[in-house]
Subunit: 341 residues, 4 copies
């Protein structure tokens, strides 16, 4: 970290900063220039947040040099984290595709979706039992009944399950049914929920917050890992920008960046990012070409009857085309595609 003192800072101000840094265990390098003094401090970057240096007299600016996450960084762990779910691996040699409806609506709908996405090559079934909805008047999910239906679909198809938890109180319930616990975009900085899933003993799919920087996202992962659960999958799902033609803007460059900065697996959700099914297919191809470890795609047997997010859901037929293309790009990237059967 660099502390830049302002023009008028006097010796006493500099000494106070140095003292506070040294007391916290930082090693100091002082550069007293003609115009201003600059203090370099080397030490435990995770402690910078509590130092309040910018509020000290004479301090103009504090410039962190290193990103503040540690356990999530590739510096800390060189080799990729590979997460095993049953007999498949996420972040390993194979590309994994999670697919299914936005919300679990009924046994029939879910089972039909599950069979169709499995047939096309998906290995994990997605489906919301608890749904975060902007309007209190919208369908909020089938809750425990939805979880039961997911478990039945797993039984019937062999697909693994990913579903969202929104409330720490229902975490034990959700964890009991699902294979992967999803933290949704609105809860990326729900820190109590993060601390809780850290103890749930199941892999966590951590979606990027709607307006989260990559650094904040990795700090959210750090909450989970430092809480005891290193099985974190990062999921790019678009960020909020001024563009209104798409629901959000898919920030696909985050994929190679995360692979560089972190050892965690990265998947992409083009359905929620874009909000229009027509563009999901090309962006699925692009995601794998950018280096993603997998995809999560909304598929509904009859999108026009979906209780949630119909406009961005693919029909099973279009999903099959997507999978055929994804398979080709995966091969180009020297990645396999697993099969649950």
């Amino acid at each position: 970290m660099i502390v830049v003192m302002n023009h008028g800072a006097d010796k006493k101000d500099v000494e106070a900063v140095v003292e506070r840094l040294e007391k916290t265990g930082f090693q100091i390098h002082l550069s007293a220039g003609v115009e201003r003094t600059i203090i370099g401090a080397i030490g435990d970057k995770t402690r910078i947040g509590d130092l309040a240096l910018e509020a000290m007299p004479g301090v103009e600016k504090v410039v962190p040099i290193l990103m503040p996450f540690k356990l999530a960084s590739r510096n800390f762990q060189e080799q990729n984290t590979v997460i095993r779910v049953g007999n498949i691996e996420i972040g390993g040699d194979a590309i994994q595709v999670m697919a299914g409806p936005c919300a679990v609506e009924s046994k029939e709908q879910l089972l039909e979706a599950a069979l169709r996405v499995k047939e096309a090559g998906a290995t994990i079934l997605r489906g919301g039992a608890f749904k975060p909805r902007t309007s209190p008047y919208s369908f909020q999910g089938l809750e425990e009944k939805g979880l039961e239906m997911l478990a039945e679909a797993r039984e019937a198809t062999g697909l693994y399950i990913v579903t969202e938890v929104m409330d720490p109180r229902t975490l034990p319930l959700v964890a009991q049914y699902t294979d992967i616990i999803q933290i949704g975009t609105r809860n990326m900085q729900n820190f109590f929920l993060l601390k809780e899933v850290a103890t749930a003993g199941k892999p966590v799919l951590l979606k990027r917050g709607l307006s989260a920087t990559i650094e904040e996202w990795l700090m959210a992962a750090e909450y989970i890992i430092s809480g005891g659960n290193s099985q974190v999958i990062l999921c790019e799902r678009g960020i909020r920008t001024f563009e209104t033609y798409t629901r959000n803007s898919l920030d696909l460059t985050s994929v190679p960046i995360l692979k560089h900065l972190s050892h965690l697996p990265v998947i992409v959700d083009p359905s929620h990012a874009i909000g229009k099914w027509r563009y999901v297919q090309p962006m699925a191809r692009a995601s794998i070409a950018a280096g993603a470890d997998g995809l999560i795609i909304e598929v509904h047997p009859r999108p026009s009857e979906a209780l949630c997010d119909g406009p961005q859901s693919l029909t099973p037929e279009n999903f099959k085309i997507l999978m055929d293309e994804v398979r080709q790009v995966s091969r180009l990237m020297n990645r396999k595609m697993d099969d649950v059967s």
Copy 2:
């Protein structure tokens, strides 16, 4: 709501849309143009979300005409909501200022802050006992001990208390101590928490989400009101933009917009929006001139020793200057300033 059919839509497509709308109770106006058919639908706007019309064959675009909130809207309730806390009113004739440290750190710190902000004219004491922090390694708050200290400071000064709740499990605890329950920016769309505070029987200070539109913000208020609690105070606290000089961008225009669209009181938090104490004072003046019903300001006896958000905290001396200026602008706006003593 307007449903625009696309160029190639045939009669059957139009009929399917009309049927679904009529079944849900909408009244239909059909405009069959040369190029395309347009369907106007009048009915319960709160039910639009579940219709999934955009996924139906032949539908190009669905254009909502009315904003989707109802109970929060001024159409629903003409006169301002005035919220009574003890012997003061928020949203009434008087401007109310909430002030205090970012986090409760100790009895001494809190009491000193409380006495100084009261002296300057604040009526409500702010202070976090549970703190949402980007880093898991940062100070996370004193939790219940912090709540006790807030209650003691209330006892000692007569100030009312506002403090944040982050987890539905601690809501009963927080509600037992505080006069106003704060929902922070990261939890504006934590829908389970919103449903829970709706039943807590205390006024709720609902901060705008970091990247929430005004419409989404009012929908979050709608969750609380429709859940049974109409005592909602809206708090503008800046939105995330590309500008990096400030922590966030204070979107002050939201104040007159909210006063036009809604009957709820609106206050402004310039401290968190800006992140630099130097600019808090002018923006406090501007907030009142824009029509806000109050302010929430970070004040710390010694900002450079604050465990949280020191750089944006005012000293008690600078807070006094701010209050003198705010008092003058309030007079200009024909607003009083209450006093708890």
Copy 3:
């Protein structure tokens, strides 16, 4: 277009709107609901902008149904625009890659870059002779000398040339040297410059404005086409968002969207969008997988000595790797890669 009248609008207000619309040649469909009247208007969408309907008494909202561009739209022209430059085609069967240094610095630098990018398979040489720089103290380009060097490099290598014009006064000069005229991101809405390049008789590479919506971008293309030049190539180069790790956020979804809405060729500039060479390669692959017709890539013989944008420039060695990968993805997309030799 739909005009929504507000709650209190009376018959006179409605008639005034209808009269103005009919006078401008619009055909009217009136829906008088219980709560409010809705006016549908079908006619020349390019004339909506001048109607000022939203300022008329009783009007609540004007909702355009169709995007306001016409000549640039795929509705207007079904088949792809293919632009011929010498013996290559942009937007046709083949992927074209433009490459070279940010700025022309010297004969030697440019020629070395040109030879190396040609060797790797580029068909067009990029290089700035006039440079838009944030700081007045930064290198501003070699101007006409730079143009001469570009022409010499073309002579020596057979590569075609693309270079930026920033000022209508230098357009004749630039047009005399270059094969493709580039309009930079800061000039996407420099309407006088757009009108001028419309008459220059050369293909135009139109970069997306830093904060331009897709609609505004296509309207800028409409300026050029309606001015007489239909040879427009669209270039996605990132948009400004809150993320600071990258220079801008590459909005790759714009590629399939533009291919759907418009008949114009679309290329991608990952170098400027990202600002860090390390991530250019994966995003080049992703661009082609998303359906782009080509790329523009910054390559410098010695990036660390570049007078401009060194950190995002590839070495010739890394560019060769990029081209090998792009070639593979192109094959997958059933696209050829031309060769100028």
Copy 4:
């Protein structure tokens, strides 16, 4: 400036950076830590841009310490720049209000607007003769005829004139008629135009670019000042964000920031930022309370007949109310309001 070398950087890399910095005249402070070396460099900040340090081997990050503008900064000139136009001053003791229609449409419209805004207390008449329009099919302005009408209105009323220049070729023409030359938001980084107005010998009203940071905006001012014209007025007019209820988001905090960082006068344009006349009045009050030196407001005799921006134009009656309120806030801020009569 601080140069942070990466983990693996060796001695040779560090020496190369030091050598390049010293050759450019920077003074060096070296901090060789255990983990990484940090190089502090003090010297001419305006030369950093051309050093390309981030592309040198072993360099991880370059952190500028000082903002890169110089002539525009308050460090360079302590006292406020006061710009004299005829017998009024901008940036001095008095608040100045510029008002008038978006576009000059006819002699009658302009004269009526001029008389009404003067009556209410405006001192400067705004009106566009050259109009930047998103659509090529929209009204583009009366051009020289519009300039003549502005001059006639000045003659008739004594108001000074501000109007926009969009093209360096028409600058001599515009400069001949107007008192203040406006650079619009889309041209804030049209560097050739900036260089040209630097030589025009008239004050320049420099609007903030739609997605310009405060730093980039001051760098644009630096272009004009370093080109020989220090008469620059900065105009906040909103930035592009995700919020769609307003046209743009008025970033009012820029006002006290600019007053702190720079000596240049700052005015606010709430009309263009917001796009809805209803909210212009409260935000005009807020602007003055935030410390602005003036306002620019759109006023049209009959907004519903305006050829441009009717929805955001005030009627003369509402403008009078706005001026009465602004006068009161100005008094509170110890600012006078001039009068041209």
